[in-house]
Every structure is written in C-alpha cells, then in structure tokens.
Symmetry: C2
Subunit: 161 residues, 2 copies
DNA sequence: CAACATTAAATTGCACGCAAATTAATTTTG
DNA sequence: CAAAATTAATTTGCGTGCAATTTAATGTTG
C-alpha cells in the first residue's frame, strides 16, 4: 500500500480546499476584471468606445503625443494589441497617428480636438464607476496599491525566469 | 468670463490627478489580470492549456459533471465563451461533453481520466504562482475577499440598472 | 394537444491580448 | 561606409469574452 494513502484526512481536505475557484486570488482578479468591463460597457457605448480604448485615452489625457511603444509601456501591452486598437481610435476620430519625422520607425499618437473634448465627460464616468464599486477613497487606494504591488512582484518574477 | 475658470488651481490638479492611469482601481485590476495570465502561461503551456481552460478545470475538480450553464454561473461566463473553450478542452482530452438524457438541451461536462490525473499537478502550479505573487496566505485572503466584495457590488449595481 | 413562451447550447461577428513573423528604419561595428 | 544587428510598428494566427442570433428541446397555456 502506498504511503500517501496513510496521510491524515485533514491534509487531504486542506489541499483540496486550496484548489477551489473561490480560494483563488487569480480568479478573484479575473472576475473583478470582467466586472469592471461589464460596468464600463454601458457607460462607454454612447461614445463608441471599448474599455481598453478608454484606458488608452486616459493615458493620453495624462500625457499627449506618445509613441506606440511608450503607450505600451504605460499600459503593459504590446504593439500587436495596440496597433489595431489605435487604428480604431483613429477611425473613430479620437486620435491621430503620425510617423515621427526624426525617426520614421516611430508612430506618434496624438489626441484630436474630439479626443480632448471627451476628457471632461470622463469625470462623470469616473463618478459612475466609483458609485458602482461602492468603495471609499481609502478602500480604493489600499486595494489599488495592493494590486500594484502584486503586479510588480509577478512581473519581476516573470523577468527573472 | 465663465465662472469655472475662477476655481482654485488645486481643484484642477486634484481632478486631473484622479484621471491618471496610476490612480485607477480598474487599471490596477486590469494589469493584475494580465500579470496572472502571463505568469500562468509558461506553467500551463506544457499541458497545452490556456489560463481560462485551467480555471474551468479548477471548477470541475471541485465539482465534476456540471452543465455548461452551471460552469458559466460559477465562472461568470456565458455559453458563447464556454462552448468553444469546452470543445478545445474536449479535443485536448481533458473533458467529455455529453447531452443530458433527461433534458437534451443540456450538455454535461465531465472530467476524463486525463483530466482527473492533472489535478495533482495543479498543486505544483499553485505553489509556483504563490511564489510569484510573493503574498502571505493572510495577504492573499484579504486581497481575495476585498476583490470578491468589489465584484459583488459591481455585479449588483449592474443588475439594478 | 397545439400554439406560444422559455430555456440551454451553439454560432456569428467584433474587439482584445499575445506570440511569432514581417517590414522598414536606424544603429552598431568590422 | 557597407554588412549586420537592433528597434518600432504592423501583420497573422489563435484563444478568449461578449452581444446578438439561431437551433433544438422543454414548459406553459388556452
């Protein structure tokens, strides 16, 4: 008879418990991400924007005229994701994409008048989201910082291997 | 001259600050989700599994022989996402999909021997992920519960509107 | 019991997200 | 300075995720 079958039942139970969806931090993050997406969708639909497109605009409102690479660094996305997304943002009239005259490899993404004019609306969206999350400013800050630390540690351990 | 231009500069600054990517809880969740995906990928590649496929297996290890609808409720996904994903899990030999004899509308998803045999490996994956997150069990519990509350509140406010 | 409504999956169309390959421009270096 | 290496962006292919439609089976109701 194998030794493993003699281990206490409690150990079995704890191990199994650790493998449930409800116990997984990754699944909690996964679900919260979908919940944000679903909450943003109706708020962004009237602007013809998707949630990731809105995040790109947030980045551009903070710092206009960035290269695709720089936006990718800020958002943790590669050009394979950003190139088509930015084309759609351009087609929708929110940004322009122009090759850098000094380095034709780079594309400079700039807000249009329409893109800049959207920024004031974003405060209203932010208010709606805040209401939906039901978090205090302090709760938001703590949770956000904990997630940023988590992301940082995972990204670091990724780079190490 | 419009009244708005007379508001103190500090108010401008605070408002603008609130709209940066780094201040957004939604972006912290978005980034953490991507970080988890990137951390899981190399661990799951050798099993030919994607991260969402692995989450479905987690659900099935917890409760075998579920309908597509039930899996969707557990994971917050609809059949449009699950149907093709489950077909790929079946093609990979981890699950079977069989129509319920008592209600032919339903499809019962069951683990195969191969699917069940993968469960012990999952403890190793879990250990690798835990190491990458660098969180104590207590930190994981707190962060997970905070995210679950957040998701619950957003889902509720979604249903209300 | 037959028309109607409801339900469960599957399908279709579109937008990410990422890996890998490609293209074009710039930099390095022999 | 010309060949090689590097870099930035695009493109391609695949797997989600979701809305909307379709199909088939079950329930409901007049």
């Amino acid at each position: 008879m194998p030794i493993m079958t003699t281990k206490p039942a409690k150990f079995e139970a704890i191990s199994d418990e650790a493998l449930t969806l409800g116990q997984q931090l990754c699944f909690a993050v996964y679900s919260a991400g979908h919940a944000f997406n679903r909450t943003y969708k109706p708020l962004l639909d009237r602007f013809g924007l998707t949630y990731p497109q809105y995040l790109v605009l947030l980045a551009l409102w903070q710092q206009d005229k960035m290269t695709v690479k720089r936006i990718g660094e800020d958002m943790g996305l590669d050009s394979g994701t950003l190139s088509p997304l930015l084309k759609r943002l351009e087609a929708a009239g929110y940004v322009t994409r122009l090759r850098d005259r000094d380095d034709e490899r780079q594309v400079i993404v700039s807000l249009t008048e329409k893109g800049r004019n959207l920024k004031p609306e974003a405060f209203g969206i932010l208010a709606d989201i805040s209401k939906a999350t039901g978090c205090t400013l302090e709760e938001v800050r703590e949770l956000r910082e904990a997630l940023q630390r988590l992301t940082q540690r995972m990204t670091n351990s990724q780079r190490e291997s």
